[in-house]
């Protein structure tokens, strides 16, 4: 039963659109996360003292801590961005495609 339905879904131009949009979005976010992470690790490896810069002039607390916390927060917000589109826009196209193929 399902092969025929899969065939119909595959032929629907909306399916290609969904896959293209969602993949591009997912891979862009992945690239941003990995890029930021890679830059951070490079700074840690080659210029660690940059992170020792005090937040407040003459203070001891370094910018390393807020930068670390900021990365964690940013990555989490990006997963939020992804599900916002995936659970809304993308899933709407998805259920439309499936409805069209089953009928």
């Amino acid at each position: 039963m399902s092969t025929a339905v899969y065939e119909r879904i595959r032929k629907n131009p909306k399916f290609d659109e969904l896959v293209r949009k969602r993949s591009r979005f997912a891979w862009t976010l992945t690239a941003i996360v990995l890029g930021i992470y890679f830059i951070f690790i490079m700074v840690v490896a080659f210029n660690p003292m940059l992170l020792a810069t005090p937040i407040w002039e003459g203070g001891k607390a370094s910018i390393a801590w807020p930068i670390g916390a900021g990365m964690i927060l940013l990555f989490w917000l990006m997963t939020g961005l992804y599900i916002r589109r995936a659970n809304g826009e993308f899933d709407d196209i998805n259920s439309e495609i499936i409805k069209g193929a089953v009928e």
Binding site: L34, Y37, V44, P48, W65, I72, A86, N87
Partner: protein
């Protein structure tokens, strides 16, 4: 003596597994403490509550889907907490606090490396896992490949990960409980084993998930409370916290910048790869994606899990930083009251001493009980994943070739979890005096090299054939195990040889490319008719992975 601890912390940092197997460095140092009444009472309450849940879950567990995947009836938020629970072990709480206590910012870098795998799982894996899987991750790898062969190697990979991880948790549990509760080592191991088997055999995935959720809430709540109490001593000022830490630590300003973490880039990158992709290859974490009804909820669960894990790591780093001043200047927490000496209970104790310093015996007892509960929840998840690999993959699909009834399959799974429980207790007792830190390394190495490459290829690469999957899995498994055995962690520390044969202890950077290469080579040279059929079947699989059409849904109740 402080130098010795520092050296140990540094060594463990280089080895990288402190965060996971933190209880392990306590091996040999864990002296028995006086009986901790608060902790025992609170732990008793936790056990009663979880047994109540198990009873409730047992009545609701009727079909195989209920047993393996909680009938697909867990919501995204609940599952997110459970996934986070699987990831935040007692070792995370103790080990990462201790790392920040001794190393400052390096501890937080470690947390970030540990965390960055989550967004990746969200963007690349979550929806495909949910759309293709049913009970175990082998359902996905064998989707269009030869059931018997691919499931056999997947089950070997799963069981290797589960057994090594279980041993490490058991030994850690025994040491920790001896230390925190003042109980005999063997008694602690037996209690953990018995409770684990009860949760899994009677309550299946429903009980295991709820135990994990309760524990995640307790751990997050307890950690946050201790952190807030400690941070209030510095008027919630980061500057105040930092300047006092710098003034009170022998490391001084070095606390505020990266230090030894990347002194060896190969180890650091390899560790990072192993943590990131190992997480995406752990059978007990992958199973969690099948407990939610659809891809929407699967995504939501990763969102919640990412929040909890990131928040918890930040709490733990703040705890470590506060402990430098609060614990590090209080002679009460040092052996013989000597501030230059060893911490009572060993290098993993800053979190516990901090709890005592800010909240007295009651808070110490609470945090100890949470640590014990955490271990229980993690081993239950592991045992269920191992039992499923035996019953669903090996028994139902390899031996009986899909002809077993659900009742038979679930029965085999229950017997398997009993068998795994007995095995875990025996091995836990046998390895009491061993340093088991390398076993967690091995578990993550095998997960990243044997399970992950074939899993991701099966979802993303049309060209993967049965032969490629088998070659890739076996190459990843063998190379990861060999590298760990020939490295210092086993060859020198465990086997007592003079020099390691292989210079690096983290296998991922070597064994992952080997696995991918062999999977590719095995596939492209496969010109059999079966291989052609398998490539053709990718089309349907691809549509299902993208749309979720035909995915195993929530069970009909």
């Amino acid at each position: 003596m402080n130098r010795v601890i520092l050296k140990y912390a540094l060594g463990a940092l280089a080895m990288g597994w402190l965060g996971l197997a933190a209880a392990a460095p306590a091996v040999g140092e864990a002296q028995k403490q006086p009986l901790n009444v608060h902790a025992i009472v609170m732990f008793f309450i936790f056990v009663l509550a979880t047994l109540g849940i198990t009873y409730w879950a047992a009545k609701r567990t009727k079909s195989a889907s209920d047993y393996y995947a909680a009938g697909g009836g867990i919501t995204g938020t609940q599952n997110g907490l459970a996934i986070a629970g699987d990831y935040m072990s007692a070792a995370t709480l103790l080990g990462l606090t201790s790392m920040t206590y001794f190393q400052g910012f390096d501890g937080y870098i470690y947390c970030i490396c540990f965390y960055v795998g989550w967004p990746f799982i969200m963007f690349i894996m979550a929806e495909r896992l949910r759309n293709l899987g049913k009970f175990t991750f082998a359902d996905i790898t064998s989707y269009r490949l030869d059931q018997r062969q691919v499931r056999t190697v997947a089950a070997i990979g799963s069981l290797t990960v589960v057994v090594f991880y279980l041993i490490a948790q058991m030994v850690g549990a025994g040491q920790l409980i001896k230390l925190l509760f003042g109980m005999e080592y063997w008694m602690a191991v037996v209690i953990v084993g018995v409770l684990m088997v009860i949760y899994v055999t009677f309550g299946g995935m429903i009980a295991t998930t709820w135990v994990q959720i309760i524990k995640a809430c307790l751990l997050l709540g307890g950690g946050t409370l201790v952190m807030l109490l400690a941070f209030s001593r510095f008027g919630f000022s980061l500057e105040e916290l930092a300047s006092q830490a710098v003034a009170n630590s022998k490391k001084g300003m070095a606390l505020m910048a990266p230090g030894a973490f990347l002194s060896d880039p190969v180890t650091a990158v390899s560790l990072s790869l192993g943590l990131m992709f190992g997480t995406a290859g752990l059978p007990h974490i992958l199973m969690r994606f099948f407990t939610v009804p659809n891809a929407k909820e699967a995504r939501k669960s990763v969102f919640i899990a990412t929040l909890c894990v990131g928040f918890f790591f930040t709490v733990v780093a703040l705890m470590g930083l506060s402990a430098i001043t609060i614990v590090g200047t209080n002679p009460q927490y040092f052996e013989g009251g000597d501030l230059a000496g060893k911490l009572i209970g060993g290098g993993n104790m800053p979190a516990m001493h901090l709890a005592h310093a800010v909240g007295g015996n009651l808070m110490l007892g609470f945090l100890s009980a949470v640590a014990f509960a955490t271990i229980l929840a993690v081993v239950a998840g592991l045992a269920l994943a191992g039992a499923s690999a035996i019953s669903h993959d090996l028994y139902a699909n390899v031996i009986r070739q899909g002809q077993a009834t659900e009742t038979e399959e679930v029965r085999v799974s229950k017997v398997s979890s009993l068998f795994l429980g007995v095995l875990a207790v025996l091995l836990g007792i046998a390895f009491e005096k061993q340093n088991v830190a390398f076993m967690v390394g091995l578990a993550f190495g095998v997960a990243a090299s044997c399970n992950f490459p074939v899993l991701i290829l099966s979802m993303y690469w049309k060209g993967l054939t049965t032969r490629g999957a088998i070659w890739g899995s076996i190459a990843g498994l063998v190379s990861a195990v060999l590298i760990v055995v020939l490295s210092k962690a086993v060859w020198v520390t465990v086997l007592g040889n003079e020099k390691p044969i292989f210079p690096y202890e983290q296998p991922a950077i070597f064994s992952m490319p080997i696995a991918f290469l062999m999977a590719w080579l095995g596939s492209v040279t496969d010109t059999s008719a079966r291989a052609a059929r398998e490539k053709e079947a990718y089309e349907d699989q691809y549509v299902r992975a993208q749309t979720g059409f035909g995915a195993a849904g929530a069970a009909a109740h």
